[in-house]
Amino acid sequence: MTRTLATARRVLQQLSHDRRSIALIVVLPSLLMTLFKYVFDGSPAVFGRVGPQMLGIFPFTIMFLVTSVTMVRERTSGTLERLLTTPLRRGELILGYGLAFGVAALVQALASSATAIWVLGLDVNTPWAVELFAVVDAVLGTALGLLMSAFAVTEFQAVQFMPLIVIPQLLLCGLFAARASMPTVLERTSDVLPLSYAADAFTTLGRTSGFGSHLAKDLAILAGCCVAALAGASLTLRRRTP
């Protein structure tokens, strides 16, 4: 536990020396939300319907990128090699990362949803539930980023995993077309992609108020995906390498 917390602290300290990255993490999603609102200035219903979705998608994408690149950098700089010769366990390293970027994700989700709800006037019935799902989406992005970084040898490859992992999920999650209207193969595929459940949750949050069993189910599935991806990430981290 001490080593997990020390790792999370170290990752946040690294981030704290990089002011521009902090600004990007905190401000970028809010800026994009603002842009989104005024692009659909003529049809505010679109912002009302898709806006909440964006609150989940931006942190998911950004955290995926940030985490996978950071982890690949750890690998290429030789610090991972050193860490693996210390008493630090692989699970502790992965959890430390998850925790640090979870904190960053929390700040990001708070900033972007506060901007959307109170500055841009996005109408949601249960703001805290929107925040909750935004944070869970961001943590999911972090967890998938950690998992995928195992397959990237260079930062260049890690960046290109973003379109590979994120864009198909975006297309299939029900944001652009209802999942039920897709060919069966695609609909079944979307059933096993975590972002589908995030999109489903934000759709529900846009329509209803309160926190029903439907949302609880989405939340449980997303949390399960986070745990599975983190477990996978610590298993794919090899102590002995060729």
Binding site: A6, T7, R10, G78, T79, E81, R82, T85, T86, R89
Partner: protein, 239 residues
């Protein structure tokens, strides 16, 4: 301490891709002294050190460290490893780097301060590691390996790119650590550094061509200069 050897390697074979990096190597490194691992770049020094650190995938063979298989949780607490590239975080200050590695090793702030003093970097404690010179970064990396107060210290080319004064200071530090009972395995491709070791392992193309004291090396080859001694042995082993 029943076992007089810190490192015992039997019939080690390491293959990386299609290259046989270490074809068949057996060696025993005694405790409490400075053993130099010398040989030209690409001869397999780093691979051998990685095998001892427990992070190298082996084809076959046995690597025992401090009486246990290399890389077990208990040996990881007792072995310090400094990689060839200064593997510390450039975007942390020197102090933050050492604090993190000290926490992982379960040693305190005092150990971090002592390690910093050992490498002569007290005045740079709050500098960002990225802003240090290459030699200073190497010393931060060395300090990170020192601060766990290890029984076995594996140093991969720790003196590369350092000025002669600092190099001398570090070799004095290595000697002092060995006098306190630490076992050191120090790699270098500079033959004259062999003279500063208690024992020398000479490597060439993945094989050991000598395992003896520097004096014995001079005697056996009839050369006073260690560089010449290496050449004599290398040509002898090739023939």
């Amino acid at each position: 301490m029943t076992d007089p050897f810190a490192i015992e390697i039997e019939e080690l074979v390491v293959v990386r891709g299609k290259n046989v990096v270490i074809p068949d190597l057996s060696v025993r490194v005694p405790r409490g002294c400075v053993t130099g691992l010398l040989g030209p770049s690409g001869c397999g020094k780093t691979t051998l050190i990685r095998a001892i650190a427990g992070i190298q995938r082996l084809r076959s063979g046995r690597v025992h460290v401090l009486g246990e298989p290399a890389g077990t949780p208990s040996t990881r607490e007792r072995v310090g490893y400094m990689t060839q590239n200064s593997s510390v975080y450039p975007d942390l200050t020197v102090r933050q780097n050492l604090h993190y590695f000290a926490t992982l090793a379960g040693t305190g702030e005092g150990a971090a301060r002592a390690a910093l003093a050992n490498v002569g970097l007290q005045d740079k404690a709050d500098a960002l590691t990225a802003e240090l010179s290459g030699g200073q970064r190497t010393r931060v990396s060395l300090a990170a390996a020192l601060l766990i107060d290890p029984e076995l210290l594996l140093l991969d080319e720790p003196t590369v790119g350092l000025d002669p004064v600092l190099r001398r200071d570090l070799w004095q530090l290595f000697g002092a650590l060995a006098a306190d009972g630490t076992t050191l395995l120090v790699s270098s491709h500079v033959m004259e550094e062999a003279g500063r070791c208690d024992r020398v392992l000479l490597m060439r193309e993945g094989r050991l061509i000598a395992d003896c004291s520097p004096d014995e090396l001079r005697r056996r080859t009839g050369q006073t200069d260690l560089e010449q001694a290496f050449l004599t042995l290398a040509e002898g082993s090739a023939a």
